[in-house]
């Protein structure tokens, strides 16, 4: 579904991503792991259009998406979360999720300007849908709390809910369980599994190795911007290059 071919990103002389190629299939949870500074987040930024690759091609269902502005890429069905949470801090959790529905909502402004009841209905419906999405991440009771007042783990879950509200075909998660307690992380892992089963392609950056091994169908390992290994969790875990990259060679 999502395919990267020889994708590169150079910042001056630094090749943050260097010829990375891999595919994420529909219904798959694909792990992207690697040491700090390996280029994982940079790669996510390239896919979501926040920065442009300096080489290679990114395509969704065979159509090139690299070079498109971020909002057009989102419109093609790619949603994401952020490593350093980027919620709309001043808005309530529910309103954050309502923004996530932006691409799904059909509510022309003129209807609202004419005070048509259909506009009011549509807004109530949006809010109700947002509350339901929040319930999915276990935050039904916190829907009307301002995002800044939520705990770190809760904020991460609101971000996931906001991304899910866009009903994406590809979901990019940047360390979704960072800073979460073990039960909280397990709940997120179950949710990610469920989302994939519904037909979404999930690309997941995660540092929690146990969780990655249990959750992912396939894993791509990045080091210094290059793909050094790929395969099923058990295959990747056996790769000497991976062990060396993580534990440091002599």
């Amino acid at each position: 579904m999502l395919s990267l071919g020889q994708v590169s990103k150079a910042f001056g002389g630094v090749r943050a991503v260097d010829g990375a190629s891999f595919e994420v299939e529909k219904g798959e949870v694909h792990g992207l792991i690697g040491p700090n500074g390996a280029g994982k987040t940079t790669l996510l930024n390239l896919i979501s259009g926040l920065s442009q690759p300096t080489g290679g091609a990114i395509s969704l269902d065979g159509a090139r998406i690299d070079g498109l502005p971020a909002h057009r890429i989102a419109a093609k069905g790619i949603a994401r979360t952020y490593q350093n949470i980027r919620l709309f801090a001043g808005l309530s959790a529910a309103d954050n999720v309502v923004v996530g529905q932006y691409l799904q909502r059909r509510a022309p402004l003129w209807r609202r300007l004419l005070l048509l009841p259909s506009a009011r209905r549509e807004e109530r419906e949006a809010l109700r849908a947002a509350e339901e999405t929040l319930a999915r991440v276990g935050l039904r009771g916190r829907a009307h709390e301002r995002a800044v007042n939520l705990s770190y783990g809760e904020q991460r879950r609101v971000e996931i809910a906001r991304a899910l509200a866009a009903q994406p075909r590809v979901l990019l998660l940047d360390e979704p369980t960072a800073g979460m307690s073990a039960p909280e992380a397990d709940a997120v892992a179950r949710l990610v599994r469920e989302v994939a089963r519904e037909g979404c392609a999930v690309l997941l950056i995660e540092h929690n190795v146990k969780l990655v091994m249990a959750l992912c169908d396939r894993i791509t390992v990045l080091n210094f911007g290059q793909v050094i290994a790929r395969g099923s969790p058990s295959e990747v875990a056996k790769e000497p290059v991976v062990i060396e990259a993580y534990l440091g060679g002599a």
């Binding site: 979501s48 259009g49 926040l50 502005p69 971020a70 909002h71 890429i73 989102a74 419109a75 949603a79 994401r80 952020y82 980027r86 919620l87 709309f88 801090a89 001043g90 808005l91 309103d95 309502v98 923004v99 996530g100 932006y102 691409l103 909502r105 509510a107 402004l109 609202r112 300007l113 005070l115 506009a119 807004e123 906001r162 866009a166």
Partner: protein, 282 residues
């Protein structure tokens, strides 16, 4: 009561005009953009309206429409490049635009340069001004909560996240810049036809700061805040003048000092508007 109303008629009119101007600043402020081009937009609207009235017999509604439309059209080619700038850089670029417009009118002989246009028939009355304000308020009230309105809030809170939610941030910011330009132009057209004259001196940097202060003092968390701020800061000097003469001390410098102190107190103790400014910087 009737005498009081007649005595303060122009004050009521200026509350309406300043309310429109504060709303024009709020239009861009509510999606996190500090654009200070509005005195320039106002000048374009005022001159457009005045020239049409002086050289044709177009109905006043058409004159006002042109006064709003002309700066709105100018806002498009201005906005496309400058809205890429953020924060203080956008402010500086738009101040530059405002000065450019002012200097253009200072040097344009056709409109008598710095002298400006005089003897413009008074065609704007209280009800035209307040009806315009009501329409503007209604427009902004309905935007809030709509899909478009939530997109604006998202842009104010975090532009990058908004983009990856599928929001075309440039188009939204441009739309609000154009709306703000239209409101400022409308206010300029109304003022020109209320005070009989337009001159470039009235559309300098000080004017846009005045609009901004009114919007911020009123509070930008709610769409009616800027109008409340405009009303407060327009009426306050008059109240102080009246109070001064009743209490028997000469107005003049003390009045301005007191005006400044009250302004400072409002900003310090009612920081509602400033809160949203701080949030934008974060």
């Amino acid at each position: 009561m009737r005498d009081l109303f007649l005595a303060y008629q122009s004050l009521v009119a200026f509350v309406g005009i300043n309310g429109l101007l504060a709303l024009s600043v709020y239009a861009t402020l509510c999606c996190g953009q500090l654009s200070l081009a509005n005195a320039g937009f106002m000048a374009i609207g005022a001159y457009t309206g005045a020239l049409i009235t002086l050289h044709s017999n177009a109905p006043f509604i058409a004159v006002l429409a042109a006064a709003a439309l002309a700066p709105a059209l100018v806002a498009v080619p201005l906005g496309l490049p400058v809205l890429r700038l953020r924060g203080v850089f956008l402010a500086i670029a738009t101040i530059g635009f405002g000065e450019m417009v002012r200097l253009f009118f200072v040097n344009w002989d056709y409109t008598n340069g710095a002298m400006g246009l005089v003897a413009i028939p008074q065609r704007a009355g209280l009800w035209t001004i307040w009806l315009s304000l009501a329409v503007a308020l209604y427009l902004l009230a309905r935007v809030r909560g709509s899909r478009f309105g939530t997109a604006l809030e998202a842009i104010r809170e975090d532009e990058t996240a908004a983009r990856t939610m599928g929001i075309d941030t440039t188009a939204h910011k441009l739309a609000m810049l154009v709306l703000g330009a239209g409101l400022a132009g409308l206010a300029g057209g109304l003022e020109a036809h209320y005070t009989f004259m337009v001159a470039p001196g009235g559309y300098g940097f000080a004017r846009v700061v005045e609009m901004l202060v009114q919007a911020v003092v009123g509070g930008t968390a709610a769409f009616f805040g800027p109008v409340a701020g405009a009303a407060f800061l327009t009426v306050l000097p008059e109240v102080l003048r009246e109070a001064g003469s009743r209490l028997g001390f000469a107005p003049g410098p003390f009045r301005l000092l007191l005006n400044g102190l009250i302004l400072l107190a409002v900003i310090l103790y009612l920081p509602n508007g400033l809160v949203s400014l701080k949030r934008r910087k974060a």
